[in-house]
């Protein structure tokens, strides 16, 4: 059967460690129906031989959930940042080109270090402080209509695709990126989280904060979770405008 000889071609941008130079390596792996990019990478790991038949090191990548909810497996697939676990080989043009996302430092091969995104979440206080020495009780309720849109924002998996797509996230700029901004809107929408609203908004007004957004809107086009990032950004633009007036003219600023 012809099926048995069918191969899938890959060109993978590899890098042995964070400081060494990157290079391309080609692979040809036997075709199986319904493969995704990760199952192809697993095949390379099982039999690490490149297209010239030379033995090589297995390609390193990150993965976790395998169902597009953890965000760990993001990479550039034929130039587009997306999750490799949901990238189906049958739907991709060959040779399939895999590269690490360019916005983050490479750890090894396709594995990148997304620490800056987690640092950003800490910087904007993307949580609700409820720990204390006594039980604070249940807190106010959230209206259902608000819960519905807030739930959409909570789907963010810190995958990094929106930062990769943003022209203002790069080495020349310290822009925090769309993901953390939208999380501020999420936590400010929560009735208990709202108590720290002013603090979060003020943290967005620092260097590289909200105002570094130039409205290219690539983020909202690219987010695999369909998060309305640009709506969040515009909403925060209004909130920070008002907050800046409150901070300057008002009497309740810290």
């Amino acid at each position: 059967m012809a099926e048995e000889n069918k191969v899938i071609q890959f060109i993978i941008k590899r890098q042995d460690d964070p400081d060494s130079a990157a290079y391309d390596e080609k692979f040809e792996i036997p075709y199986r129906p319904n493969m995704n990019v990760i199952s192809a990478l697993m095949e390379i790991r099982r039999n690490p031989v490149n297209s010239k038949g030379e033995a090589t090191t297995p390609v390193a990548w990150e993965m976790n959930c395998l169902e597009e909810v953890c965000g760990a497996c993001s990479m550039l697939i034929n130039g587009k940042p997306r999750q490799s676990c949901t990238a189906l080989v049958d739907q991709l043009e060959q040779p399939i080109r895999l590269e690490p996302m360019a916005t983050f430092p490479v750890v090894r091969d396709l594995q990148v270090d997304r620490s800056r995104m987690f640092d950003a979440l800490k910087k904007v206080k993307a949580w609700i402080p409820i720990d204390g020495t006594y039980d604070l009780g249940p807190g106010p309720r959230m209206p259902e209509s608000k819960r519905q849109w807030a739930y959409e924002l909570s789907k963010c998996m810190t995958c990094g695709v929106c930062l990769e797509a943003c022209p203002n996230v790069n080495d020349n700029s310290d822009f925090i990126g769309p993901a953390a901004l939208s999380q501020v809107r999420l936590f400010n929408a929560h009735p208990t989280g709202e108590m720290n609203k002013a603090e979060r908004l003020t943290s967005l007004m620092g260097d590289g904060g909200l105002a570094s957004c130039g409205n290219s809107q690539n983020c909202v086009q690219s987010c695999p979770k369909g998060i309305p990032l640009t709506t969040s950004i515009a909403a925060l633009n209004r909130d920070t405008s008002l907050q800046s007036f409150r901070n300057f003219f008002g009497s309740d600023a810290q």
Partner: protein, 216 residues
């Protein structure tokens, strides 16, 4: 408390783009448009502007300082971007790129235009219809003015959209889309005003009977 100076500077940049620079642009193009009504009309309008009270104060604080700040900070913003329309060819990403490209073209155009007109006036030249006629007496300069004026109007119109988002006035995708159509409309309307003025200087006689639509 976090240092919010960057936020304040960026919001100032955004505000100055509309007030006063954008308003001045509309005012300036409107005065120029008097050229379509003939030499005397334009000279009278230009003379009126020249004889406004506290003229130097207005020029410095309403025109020069705001434009210089907006341009310098605009260049800083422009060179922070790593444009990527080849990979992400979405409409708004193109507008993002064009906003920066037209910013630079506008800077070159305005610098030359101010040198030819306002700086020469300071050296004693008279700013009137004849001056513009002489500037626009060759195809290269006509091309330069057409590109410069269209670029400025594009930058202003698209900037108006960006301003509405930057201040959180339009938030929902629907209102942002409508704002896109409205600002495209503004681009075409203001472009007609700007182009009519240029071609009135280039060829007053032909202009007078060929393009005088009743509503203009």
């Amino acid at each position: 408390m976090a240092d919010t100076r960057d936020f304040a500077l960026r919001r100032l940049h955004s505000l100055l783009g509309v007030i006063p620079i954008g308003l001045y642009l509309i005012q300036h193009l409107t005065v120029n448009h008097f050229a379509t009504r003939g030499r005397e009309s334009f000279d009278a309008a230009a003379h009126f502007m020249e004889t406004l009270p506290y003229r130097y104060f207005l020029e410095i604080f309403v025109i020069f300082l705001p434009i210089i700040f907006h341009a310098v900070f605009g260049l800083y913003i422009t060179f922070q971007a790593r444009n990527n329309v080849s990979r992400y060819g979405y409409f708004r990403n193109w507008m993002f790129l064009l906003q920066r490209v037209t910013g630079i073209i506008t800077l070159i155009f305005i610098s030359w235009h101010v040198w030819e007109t306002r700086v020469q006036a300071a050296f004693g030249a008279k700013v009137n219809f004849t001056m513009m006629e002489e500037i626009l007496d060759n195809p290269f300069m006509i091309g330069f003015y057409v590109v410069g004026v269209l670029s400025t109007i594009f930058h202003f119109s698209n900037g108006l959209w960006s301003f509405l988002v930057t201040w959180g006035i339009v938030q929902s995708p629907r209102s942002q889309r409508i704002a896109t159509f409205v600002t495209i409309g503004i681009f075409f309307a203001v472009s007609i005003v700007g182009m009519r003025a240029i071609f009135a200087f280039v060829n007053p006689e032909w202009f007078a009977f060929a393009t005088n639509l009743p509503i203009l």
